[in-house]
């Protein structure tokens, strides 16, 4: 767990929590450096109430989050990335590079791994931790070759009956000259369309940012899950505000209007389940979060792997066919 001393990474509404954490750390540090000055009972007496206070504060603050707060949590500088989950929830990750055509897009990584007793293929957005990594991964914004690589590896997994887990965390696919020249839209479209036909179970999890088509490009699945403080949206709140409000600063209003939070998406029938995060968010306990994620994935894969392929594909078709209600003009609601 990252040190609480550095307050700059914390969001404004998290600051009171971080300050209490800081006090707790100081007392505990003092107890180890100068044990004579502070007896263990005294440490407990000091730290216990502080921890209670902190936990109470977390519950209060996190029960009042606005949609925009959740977007900021999804983009939190300390939020665990797919690479953290690959390390802590999976074992033996063996990366497979390249689209065998143009390049190896660092914004999407693919590899074979084990998830508990199961063999899986992991396809995940990569945002990068250090500045160098972030630049190499283009901040998690993939180019067409990223989607082509993902599809190639998914077809490989399909060939050998290996289920697929995708971890989604991107602002969106990259809008650039090279991306357009090399067919960004077509690469995403092809990936979406072919994922619908994969003859192995596919489980996708939005772990941070679910940025529009760039997210969906690796997100057509039998089960779509989302972490409690992740978001999934057709457009970024800033982009939506710029277009509909003509003012990117109205991003808070746009975030609310778009209904992009995990509970909203569950209610709308966009996601199949919400995975609870540790109190205060995944970044306060990445290892604990990884364990929860592993359990959730295993339970989905167990259920899906029991289905015959025909049934699996039939259900996937029915699932997407049913997303979104409309009405006939006679005004009878229908799905």
């Amino acid at each position: 767990m990252a040190s609480a001393h550095d307050l700059k990474d914390w969001l404004d509404f998290e600051k009171p929590i971080a300050e209490i954490d800081q006090k707790i750390t100081e007392i505990e540090k003092l107890a180890t450096t100068a044990p004579a000055a502070l007896k263990p009972q005294e440490v407990l007496a000091e730290v216990g109430p502080l921890k209670n206070l902190r936990d109470k504060l977390i519950r209060k603050i996190f029960s009042e989050l606005t949609p925009w707060d959740r977007v900021r949590l999804a983009r939190h500088p300390r939020r665990p990335h797919a690479t953290d989950y690959i390390e802590h929830a999976f074992t033996g990750f063996l990366e497979l590079h390249g689209d065998r055509c143009y390049g190896d897009d660092q914004a999407i990584s693919c590899g074979l791994a084990a998830l508990g007793p199961r063999r899986v293929l992991v396809v995940a957005h990569r945002k990068g931790k250090t500045t160098k990594e972030r630049v190499a991964a283009n901040f998690g914004c993939a180019h067409p070759e990223g989607y082509r690589k993902a599809l190639l590896k998914m077809r490989l997994a399909e060939k050998f009956g290996v289920p697929i887990v995708t971890l989604i965390d991107t602002q969106g696919a990259f809008p650039g000259i090279g991306a357009e020249e090399r067919g960004q839209a077509g690469a995403i479209a092809k990936s979406i369309q072919e994922m619908a036909t994969l003859r192995v179970p596919v489980v996708s999890v939005v772990i941070g940012e679910g940025g529009s088509g760039g997210a969906l490009g690796i997100g057509v699945a039998d089960k779509l899950l989302i972490l409690e403080h992740a978001y999934y949206s057709v457009i970024s709140p800033e982009g939506c505000a710029a277009i509909l409000w003509k003012d990117a600063e109205k991003k808070g209003e746009a975030a609310k209007a778009l209904r992009l939070t995990a509970p909203d998406l569950l209610e709308l029938g966009v996601v199949d389940g919400v995975i609870e995060e540790p109190p205060g968010g995944a970044h306060r306990d990445p290892v604990g979060m990884a364990a929860t994620l592993r359990t959730a994935l295993l339970s989905q894969l167990d259920a899906l792997s029991a289905l015959p392929v025909v049934e699996l594909l039939e259900r996937r078709y029915a699932k997407y066919r049913a997303i979104g209600k409309f009405r006939w003009s006679a005004a009878t609601a229908e799905t």
Partner: protein
């Protein structure tokens, strides 16, 4: 998404229309007869669905299906004090359509096809649940009746007012098209100006044959978003159909005057000639639009009943 950028210049009321590109004054009746192509510079004006049907399908052959599908406001979306249902009502009044796509069946040179065309004037041709579902229905119709599918695309992308539900329509449409493709069904798309965002990144570009109209703007992101992201000016003609064809992203750019003929040649080239009994408008008979069939003899091609059977 960024459809507001594409709102077209209001045409002057009455008999004359000014060309958006060369500013030539065009006689309205002549312009319509020329399928809304400027006689001076060849600029292809945007077309409504009604104009598409008139210029593409055999006369009186179009039968609309699922015309009554209407969007609901699942999100309770309000922007700048305007509620989405009000927006929908306004767009319906403006276009006479219930949403941004019309689907059905029709004939091209006597060949029955499943057909869909997007109404760009309806909220920028944006794709919400109704558009996604109707593309699915068109694909299912094509599959059930063993018809080739033609989709005319014109859209700014996914519809923000329906949030992630709009995004999921990309998957919905592609899921249905995947099933059609796996059963051996033919899908052809025509990308008109503009086709961007979630429509380009889903059903517009997964077709067996992807056609585009001259000079149509086609892309994933809109040009302004790209400029803002990379902070440099875009190359000339970037994201125009000609640029995309040069980059290998399109099968063919087709001027409107050649469209019916080209479609007929594609259908015949892949499926064989129309067999007798397919309807009163047999192949080779000049369409009422006055086009002569310019396709070569197809006697050596497999007849359409030799297509692989479609799984039910």
């Amino acid at each position: 998404m960024g459809w507001m950028r594409f709102r077209k210049k209001e045409m002057p009321e009455g008999l004359w229309t000014k060309c958006d590109v060369c500013e030539e004054m065009l006689f309205q009746k002549e312009l319509l007869e020329a399928r809304k192509v400027c006689k001076k510079c060849g600029h292809h004006f945007r077309m409504s669905v009604a104009e598409r049907i008139d210029s593409l399908l055999d006369p009186e052959s179009f039968r609309e299906v699922a015309a009554d599908l209407e969007a609901i406001d699942a999100l309770g979306f309000v922007s700048k004090g305007v509620a989405y249902p009000k927006k929908l009502t306004d767009e319906q009044k403006k276009t006479g359509r219930r949403d941004a796509i019309v689907i059905g069946t029709g004939r091209i040179r006597g060949r029955e096809i499943a057909f869909g065309a997007m109404e760009f004037e309806f909220l920028g041709g944006s794709m919400g649940v109704v558009v996604g579902h109707k593309v699915l229905l068109a694909a299912e119709l094509a599959l059930e009746r063993n018809l080739p599918l033609l989709l005319v695309c014109a859209s700014g992308g996914a519809r923000m007012h329906e949030g992630a539900l709009s995004l999921m329509q990309m998957a919905k449409a592609c899921t249905a098209l995947a099933r059609l493709a796996q059963a051996g069904g033919l899908c052809v798309t025509l990308l008109a100006d503009p086709t961007t965002g979630g429509v380009t990144a889903s059903f517009a570009t997964t077709a067996d044959v992807v056609l585009a109209e001259p000079r149509a703007l086609i892309g994933f992101a809109g040009p302004r978003v790209i400029e803002q992201t990379i902070k440099q000016k875009l190359p000339k003609d970037f994201q125009r159909a000609e640029f995309l064809q040069q980059k290998g992203q399109l099968d063919r750019i087709v001027p409107r005057a050649e469209l019916v003929d080209t479609l007929d040649r594609i259908f015949t080239g892949l499926l064989g000639p129309v067999v007798t009994g397919a309807g009163p408008h047999l192949t080779g008979v000049p369409g009422a639009n006055g086009h002569e069939s310019g396709r070569p003899a197809t006697a050596t091609l497999a007849p359409s009943d030799a297509r692989p059977p479609i799984a039910s």
